[in-house]
């Protein structure tokens, strides 16, 4: 299997870099932990929140049709909250990635790309 070719990047990564060594390093494992501990629970949360909305719109129509004020009902508010949660999660992720992921990723990248020259 070692003869398998793969897409070689134009920026040409260091041929001698030991990817497995980096993968085992404490810093990389910390980066992976930070990424996964944010994106996996967040994905589960927004999927559950969306499915709750879909199921309510399908099976709890009486409740969704309750007027809250004027002609605005629970269903419309619930739907608009899906927009709010989507925008909110986007903002949270950007903030998290900028402060917790990018600095570590950039540091590792610099080590890998310079270490070989």
């Amino acid at each position: 299997m070692s003869t398998v070719e793969h897409p070689r990047a134009g920026g040409s990564p260091p041929s001698g870099a030991d990817w497995e060594e980096v993968q085992r390093s404490a810093e990389f494992m910390e980066l992976r932990r930070r990424l996964r501990s944010f994106v996996f629970p967040m994905t589960a949360a927004f999927l559950a929140w969306y499915l709750l909305y879909v199921l309510m719109a399908t099976y709890a129509r009486g409740f969704m049709g309750q007027k809250v004020f004027g002609n605005v009902n629970v269903g419309l508010i619930f739907g608009l909250l899906q927009f709010v949660s989507t925008f909110l999660i986007t903002a949270l992720y950007v903030r998290y990635a900028n402060s917790r992921l990018d600095p570590l990723a950039e540091k590792l990248r610099a080590q890998i790309e310079d270490g070989d020259r």
């Binding site: 719109a57 899906q82 950007v94």
Partner: protein, 536 residues
């Protein structure tokens, strides 16, 4: 006023609609030809030299994603069926979180031009690339056919071309123009067409929304009240249930559709390919953030436009107009701003088809040339410019096929093709992408099982569904082989594909490529060795 509208064979002045559209074509052609001057290498043709910024690419993604179905279709669905049209649009938006959190950046860091680059990274190249290309071509072709078939109806509505021959002529013209964009401008030209279209679309939608809001003194409640009063259905248009899920099967079918929408977007090959047009993973992230902003804003505007059309034009007049439900937004434009605004909105609708179809054609041609021709047939032994030549030829072939397909499918009820494209993307592509990026043990056999298994399950279930036969609304009304009750296969095919990917992996004796996974994971997370932007 509105009554005259409904009785007229067409609305507005076709000549004005046509002139505004031709102006759009002229401007975009100039830009595409200018873009072509710096379009030489493979990275130029497939990925626009990776030189677009995140915001530019985010707007282009919106232009690629907001098809005529979501512009005319969702506004019309809200106007006629109320709340359920809005419900449909939410799945299209929430889906972007999958792309943002799990796919965009990691894909940008590990691939070059296609989805196949990422899926085959640590697998045996030829079988996995062939599978990735098969699924890419299938999704793109279903999506293309739906767009081209819709073009016929749009022509009838906006240019008052009633004869089938006339419509066929226009479909051929639109198709030829789109191929020209792709051939001349490559990804750079296509991206600019999508950016211009997205800006026009959002501008048009904002103008109409502000206008509607003004008519109702910026009072959402009174807009909803008028829409409900004019609908003839009362408050039912404000509640879920008019369009989807009248019975038990219908309800399950809707849940199935919702699942495919939310998981399908991040598996659409023409969307994935857009992430390669930016210089870094960080710019890919910014692209998605911008796309979420623009697409979210657009669907909020559509809510006002849909109910606005119901209140100001009336569902009966919309249903009676040529183009039926799809005419809601154009009729509202005419009601608000007369022939000129209608002409503008009509031109935007055309531009929408052009931009979406161009994006699909370049994706399909890239997948064939890069995955099938260069890596499967030639086993990587091919010069880049030869590969791009093959991509250009493929674009012409796919363009011709979609013109023929669009003419044949004109007037057919093939709306299920879009649902099918999303179902295949969610079933065949997304599980394979996620396993590739996150599961150490995943191997070639697992990838093949989940791609081919997901694709086959979707297509087989659709063929035996009521979308194809057995119902008055089916494609073949007189035949009856609808053995599977749901028109949307996602609820079954998505879990099946995840399961097959797992089983294919654990049941095969092939060891996981540990070293390649280490390289893939480190590159995905750090961006080390990822493709840089071209220096020009």
């Amino acid at each position: 006023m509105t009554i005259n509208l409904a009785q007229a064979p067409s609305v507005g002045e076709p000549l004005i609609n046509l002139s505004i559209f031709l102006l759009f074509v002229a401007i975009t052609l100039v830009i595409v030809f200018r873009a072509s001057r710096s379009s030489r290498t493979a990275s130029d043709y497939y990925a626009a030299g990776r030189a677009f910024t995140g915001p530019q690419n985010g707007i282009a993604i919106s232009g690629d994603y907001l098809s005529a179905a979501s512009f005319l279709g969702i506004a019309g669905a809200i106007a006629i069926s109320g709340y359920d049209g809005f419900l449909y649009s939410i799945g299209f938006l929430v889906a972007w979180l999958v792309a943002l959190l799990l796919v965009a950046e990691l894909l940008r860091n590990t691939g070059r031009f296609t989805m196949g680059d990422v899926l085959s990274f640590r697998m045996r190249q030829r079988p996995v690339r062939a599978a990735a290309a098969t699924s890419t071509l299938a999704v793109s072709f279903f999506y293309l056919l739906a767009q081209m078939a819709g073009a016929g109806g749009l022509v009838a509505l906006l240019l008052d071309v009633q004869s089938k021959t006339g419509q066929a002529g226009v479909i051929a013209g639109v198709g030829a123009l789109m191929v020209l964009y792709v051939l001349v401008g490559g990804m750079r030209g296509t991206t600019w067409v999508q950016i211009i279209k997205a800006v026009l679309l959002i501008t048009g939608a904002i103008v109409m929304t502000v206008w509607v809001a003004g008519k109702f003194s910026v009072n959402l409640s009174s807009l909803l009240g008028d829409a409900a009063a004019d609908s003839g259905k009362g408050d039912a248009v404000l509640n879920p249930g008019l369009l989807y899920g009248k019975d038990t099967i219908g309800k399950i079918d809707f849940v199935s559709l919702s699942l495919a929408l939310v998981l399908g977007t991040a598996g659409l090959p023409h969307i994935l390919m857009r992430f390669y047009t930016v210089p870094s993973a960080k710019e890919a992230r910014r692209s998605v953030v911008w796309a979420i902003g623009v697409i979210g804003l657009f669907y909020l505007l559509t809510l006002v436009l849909g109910y606005g059309a119901a209140a100001l034009v009336g569902p009966k007049n919309i249903a009676a107009a040529p183009g039926g439900q799809n005419s809601a937004a154009p009729l509202l434009a005419f009601e608000l701003g007369g022939e000129l605004l209608l002409g503008f909105i009509s031109a935007v609708a055309f531009a929408t088809i052009l931009a979406v179809v161009a994006g699909l054609v370049i994706t399909a041609s890239a997948s064939f040339a890069h995955d099938v021709y260069a890596n499967v047939i030639k086993e990587g032994q091919i010069a880049a410019d030869a590969e791009v030549r093959v991509a250009r030829i493929t674009a012409v072939v796919i363009g011709a096929l979609s013109i023929v397909g669009g003419i044949v499918a004109n007037g057919q009820n093939i709306a299920f093709l879009v649902a099918l494209a999303f179902a295949v993307a969610a079933s065949a592509n997304l599980p394979t992408i996620l396993y590739s990026l996150f599961w150490r043990r995943f191997n070639t056999s697992g990838a093949l099982w989940s791609i081919y298994g997901g694709l086959t399950t979707c297509v087989v279930l659709i063929v035996f569904s009521p979308a194809v036969s057995g119902k008055p609304s089916s494609m073949f009304k007189t035949l009856d082989f609808d053995l599977f009750p749901l028109a949307n296969p996602g609820l079954v095919s998505i879990p099946v594909s995840f399961l097959l990917g797992y089983l294919g992996t654990v049941l095969s004796r092939e060891p996981a490529a540990e070293a390649k996974y280490a390289e893939m994971e480190v590159r995905a997370l750090t961006g080390a060795g990822s493709e840089k932007a071209d220096a020009h």
